[in-house]
């Protein structure tokens, strides 16, 4: 059976949920081979094996932390040349898509980005035009290079050998042209990553700058926090949390929009959420047309009371 390369990016040896989703999807196409570009393969190995990696290829070249994107694509192309995989799956992060694009050029392969589903026949599903259309497509030339959005599938435990193999590659000078001269880590929020979270609580103009109620509800639900463009532009929340056309696109199980009117820019970033709840003082807010449950009311009353009730029910 053919092998499928799955690019996993463990952080400090911990494998994120999107990588586990890729391993689960990869099993539909062949035998998953996890690829770790950077350090952490030994620490991540057991988890990768548990979720289906038949082997783990570990490549730890200094170029990966010294230069942007291109060295990873080069390393993957070298692995692909020796493995001849049935497909290459990469997570749809900004870096992942750039790696995928370069890889597709190197391999002369068709490229599909932001797949939300991969079927056994290799065809993919994408949600396009702000979620208004669904597209089924296939790569018809070369080794399919597919980037996959988080929350595509529930990861399934599927134990496999997953032995870690150290591989060295040679990275050309030409791939090192974008020099990473400084990296300033951002403080982790302690909450789930926005695009991966099962529940998102987002705040908009109606918060009037106070995200306290939004964060408290999010924490009660173990959810990620998001923000509308209006809230971000007003400086109330960092841009990394912006949901919408020029921010992140999320597709969680549950999206709670608090004080968000639901302009099309915002809807583009969340309208494929499985369930949507909206809380807004304005009964005419467009968001209510999307919501499974709409509450016309003040989020500063509704959210804290709901948070309290949730805590009460836990006891």
């Amino acid at each position: 059976m053919s092998e499928v390369l799955v690019v996993t990016d463990p952080v400090n040896g911990t494998v994120g949920k999107p990588a586990l989703e890729l391993l689960t999807l990869a099993q539909r196409l062949g035998q998953p081979v996890a690829v770790v570009l950077g350090d952490g393969a030994e620490a991540a190995g057991p988890t990768l094996a548990e979720y289906g990696a038949t082997r783990v290829i570990s490549i730890n070249d200094p170029a990966f932390t010294e230069s942007l994107v291109a060295p990873k694509a080069e390393a993957l192309a070298q692995v692909a040349a020796s493995v001849s995989p049935a497909a290459i799956l990469i997570s749809s992060t900004p870096e992942g898509k750039e790696v995928a694009g370069r890889l597709a050029v190197k391999l002369g392969s068709g490229l599909i980005t932001d797949a939300t589903e991969i079927s056994e026949d290799g065809s993919t599903v994408q949600s396009v035009f702000a979620g208004n259309w669904t597209v089924r497509a296939s790569v018809i030339r070369g080794i399919p290079v597919i980037t996959v959005k988080p929350n595509a599938v529930t990861p399934q435990s599927s134990p496999a050998p997953g032995a870690v193999e150290q591989v060295t590659v040679s990275i050309s000078e030409s791939a090192k042209g974008a020099r990473l001269v400084k990296s300033e880590p951002k403080q982790a929020s302690g909450r789930p990553e926005l695009t991966e979270a099962a529940i998102v609580v987002a705040g908009g103009r109606g918060t009037a700058g106070d995200f306290g109620p939004v964060e408290a509800l999010a924490d009660a639900l173990g959810a990620a926090v998001g923000a509308s463009r209006a809230a971000v532009d007003s400086g109330w929340y960092p841009h990394a949390y912006q949901i919408g056309q020029t921010g992140k696109t999320v597709s969680p199980q549950l999206y709670i929009a608090a004080g968000i009117s639901g302009a099309i820019q915002h809807r583009a970033g969340m309208q494929t959420s499985k369930a949507i709840v909206a809380v807004n003082k304005d009964p005419e807010a467009p968001i209510f047309a999307l919501a499974d449950l709409g509450i016309v009311g003040d989020l500063r009353t509704v959210l804290p009371a709901a948070t309290e009730e949730i805590a009460r029910r836990k006891d």
């Binding site: 942007l68 750039e98 370069r102 050029v105 035009f129 669904t134 089924r136 974008a178 449950l293 509450i295």
Partner: protein
Amino acid sequence: MKILVLVKHVPDATGERRFAADGTLDRSSSDGLLSELDEYAIEQALQIADQRDDVEVVALTLGPHDAADAIKRALQMGASAGIHINDDAMHGSDALATSAVLAAAVTKAEPDLVICGMASTDGVMGVIPAMIAERLGWPAATLGATLSVTGSTVTIRRDADSASLTVEADLPAMVSVTDQSGEARYPSMKGILAAKKKPVETWRLADLGIDPATVGLEAAGTKVLQTTPRPPRESGKVITDEGGSGVAALTDFLATGKYI
């Protein structure tokens, strides 16, 4: 210094966007305009030009006839000249073909710096700048929230989720900028009038040495099998919060859905 800004003419996202029978985007279904994210690229190019005497900003687009409007807007904002690659053979091209043609165009135009937006607002792949750079063997400093050029070095700050990265590259280089890079200027009346006189060249594939058989729908590496409009979401229950009814509805919803 010559800066080439790659811009795209896209259907208005607030209008109705549809697929044509051949699985390609029906570009006639909605009025088109310059992709909003490309405005930021033009703005950054113009800011560099504002600071120096020796900068020429050229806007380039690849698209059918109406794509000229994207160039027009760039000229109105302040770009000095335009290039419109217009060739029917491009219909249905995938990212591989698009990047190949744009790479050939960059080679022909000989800029010192190419600036792109972070993604187009129709395809939203966000891969073209990296793919062009790959083809040219140029460094790509992409997704910059800030951009500056000093001597022959370009520097960006790329704000990833976990860290802010400072990335440097030597010219000639490919760069892309995000919507965080600085509000794009509106064309002034003077700029709108001046745009009418600015030169716009039209290039075809033959001018780029591209074989038409390598581009277009038939040459694509991917195939659209089916397109389905998503049924509009039905609005569910809407209740007005009175005497705690809103909170009760919310917590019941959460309990029923097993979110708590």
